[in-house]
Symmetry: C2
Subunit: 302 residues, 2 copies
């Protein structure tokens, strides 16, 4: 009998989605990108996203419920940013062990409220459901966002010879940073509205997992300059590649635009590092890169 640990997360999702009927033509982007993209108005697409975090997997029982709430919302804001869009309406489902205390749940909602307000979004619904006492809390977010049609950036549209860029510094998220996420909404909007990014995604599972995803979605390979990968203090390059939960932007830029991008970037975002870390190549010429976070890692990667 085949189990999910035998094949890993990406293969599992591919296999499950194969059960579903062909997507309708009006669907601009279906499963596989940071968000789904569906028709909204003449000038805008609607973005749809769901995301769940689970106690013991994405946060620990002893971690601040306020920050856990912030993280639950901020992860989704980061996904909307990665498409060039902005968040709007949120629904929250919380699975609560029956013996849970109320005060930490109120802190959780306060953290969610702070993050929603910070990024111009609002809660419109959701529900609570009970889970068995031995199960931890889970929080499932569903949200809609919007993107101007001319600003939409997919992960599947990188071109050969495009330069690969990453914002911020990577690695060491488990050293406290994995909760207090600051999604790169302003930076992403700037990139999208100026047309610099040919493809983009946010880094949630680590560069080692996400760069190959962007390349595969674009039908390309990549060449990564390991010495250029921006590492957080006290982090090795291996940690920067593999730790995950960076919530930085990974994007590609046409070679002819790269110099202009860098020149304008420092004026616009003097406090946000921007690093060119490689380029897109033919799939056959891609360098091998393994690791990163996989919820159902096969033995080889565990």
């Amino acid at each position: 009998m085949t189990r999910v640990t035998d094949i890993g997360e990406d293969a599992l999702v591919t296999r499950l989605l194969a059960q579903l009927p062909h997507a309708p033509d009006e669907l601009r982007v279906g499963p596989g990108d940071d968000c789904a993209v569906v028709p909204f108005s003449e000038n805008e697409w609607q973005l749809l996203k769901t995301d769940a975090i689970v106690e013991g997997v994405h946060f620990l029982p002893e971690e601040s419920r306020n920050l856990v709430g912030w993280k639950a919302i901020a992860r989704v804001v980061s996904d909307f940013a990665a498409m060039g869009g902005r968040p709007r309406w949120f629904m929250i489902t919380v699975g609560i062990p029956a013996d849970a205390a109320i005060a930490p749940l109120e802190q959780l909602y306060q953290g969610m409220a702070d993050c929603l307000q910070t990024y111009g979004a609002a809660l419109v619904g959701g529900e609570t459901t009970s889970v068995a006492s031995e199960t931890g809390l889970f929080i499932s977010i569903a949200a809609t966002g919007f993107v101007e049609k001319s600003h939409l950036i997919l992960r599947s549209t990188a071109r050969r010879e495009d330069q690969v860029f990453v914002t911020g510094r990577l690695g060491g998220s488990q050293a406290g940073r994995h909760l207090a996420i600051q999604p790169r909404l302003a930076e992403a909007h700037w990139l999208a509205s100026r047309g610099f990014a040919t493809a983009m995604m946010d880094l949630s599972d680590g560069l080692a997992k996400d760069l190959p995803r962007l390349a595969r979605a674009s039908g390309l390979g990549f060449s990564l300059d390991l010495d250029s990968v921006p590492c957080h203090e006290n982090c090795t390059t291996a940690e920067a590649l593999q730790d995950g939960e960076d919530y930085e932007l990974l994007f590609t830029c046409a070679p002819c635009d790269a110099e202009k991008l860098l020149a304008l970037w420092w004026d616009a975002f003097p406090e946000t590092p921007l690093s060119c870390i490689g380029q897109m190549v033919d799939a056959a010429d891609s360098m091998p890169l393994h690791g990163g976070w996989d919820h159902f890692a096969p033995g080889a990667e565990a």
Copy 2:
């Protein structure tokens, strides 16, 4: 320390929502109805809904994964129906124990696909996440739907002296019926487009829990004729009130329209029972009604 079991589900939700900032004006309906209602186009509102089902709570480990998938989607279709709307885009999050077998997961997705296709909806995204092995499977659905502005029916707009109606028969859902739900989409659309329903919701937690909710949302009470409650074969009235998971429509109708409604109904839906079970009265004159399903029932109701 106050725990969720001390106050029950409705009070918990009220307390958690109090943490959140005031909803924006453009939000037509926020938390509290079957779906949230947000702006879409000149003629339509968008409906937003999330819903989770959890192994051991909403379905059992040994129950057909195909039917569990059907149920997960159909519950949400029923919520859209209850607002006078129709379902459109779905996102699915599945929490999977790491040692889960793949074949039952494929059956689960097949059941979801069947239900989506039956009701004219489509999957656009979602994700899988791992949960601890001792935890059961959970399935969280997020969906958008649409309703013509003139068809929108809330649960908060019943009027004093309106007659209370229920479709189908109630009770005994645990005797196999709780999975193979048939949402009353056609009936609800008929009611909404003809203007018969002054308020409506779907019955998910049992008439004893849901009728008081509809009355409270409308600032009214109710008088229920227990002998008129339509019971499934081999079910007592108590079971019809309390079992929950009926997924029938509960709605109110102006007294002057009730006779016409009944006359037209039998032509339109000869196979769907329709029963008048009471009327709306002033809150002070409401009859007491207890029981029904509560995820966090306080001792008195457990």
